[in-house]
Amino acid sequence: MLHGVALTTALAAIVVAFALYFAAPKLAGSVAGKLALLLGVVVTPGLAAVGGTSYAYTESSSTEFCVSCHEMEPHGRSLFADDPTVLPAVHYQKRLVDRDHACFACHTDYAMFGNLKAKANGLRHVWVHYFGEPEGPFELYAPYPNANCLHCHDDARSYLESQGHQGQFDALRANELSCLKCHASGHAHDRLEEVGFWAPE
């Protein structure tokens, strides 16, 4: 749907702008012509820009997009790690997150500007991929916030009834005790070959 709308508005903007380029001398002299120019220079390209940006915003949240750069290949492979302690793999394989947006689900802050911040960081990563020197190992910009985990787990029965969590709820909510203190597997790059990979039939 969004793809179709974005494609149509971009095509319309190109066709209209192309036609108006040659008709501009005639149109600039009349009120109706000026309105046509307003449509062709402001409204249609504006819609095309909104459509294209919305499409790019949505598509850049996909798992396929995130792992399309070779630097992210180990992160993508870790989703298939055959080890129940590797958190990204558990989330992906058990469908605890939408598989098409697996990276975005855990690496976006669920605050007011969380999505925008994630997009800005993603844009910076793509920029470095093409015009810079990506240097590993890659680290998070800030300690992983519990809010990202609790966004889904906060009222989950398994979380509430877990023995290890009893008495820790306030500290976890206040981010005083990191979830990763006990669940610190990360993407387990160093032992991926060792644990092997899950191969769905």
Binding site: A10, F18, A24, A28, P45, A48, G52, Y55, H129
Partner: protein
């Protein structure tokens, strides 16, 4: 006593209306910008990848906004100065 001709306000250069040819040239510049911007956006939509993503964000969108900005500025100046 009536006002003398010399007392009439002299139009300054800043308020002088722009010739239509110059407006057309500005409109065409704006159209070229939005055309190029929309083309980059179209390429990004058809072949979406990290490369086209950055092209859309750093080339397509700014060019489109620049074209719109040039046109809006021209209209604003036109309103302030009045038509030829």
């Amino acid at each position: 006593m009536g006002a003398r001709v010399d007392d009439a306000p002299t139009p300054t250069l800043a308020l002088a209306p722009e010739p239509i040819e110059r407006e057309v040239a500005t409109i065409r510049t704006a159209l070229v910008c939005v055309l190029a911007g929309a083309f980059v956006e179209l390429m990004g939509i058809v072949w979406f990848s990290p490369g086209t993503f950055i092209a859309m964000a750093c080339v397509g969108l700014p060019l489109t906004l620049l074209g719109i900005g040039i046109f809006v500025r021209m209209v604003w100046r036109h309103i302030r100065r009045g038509p030829m």
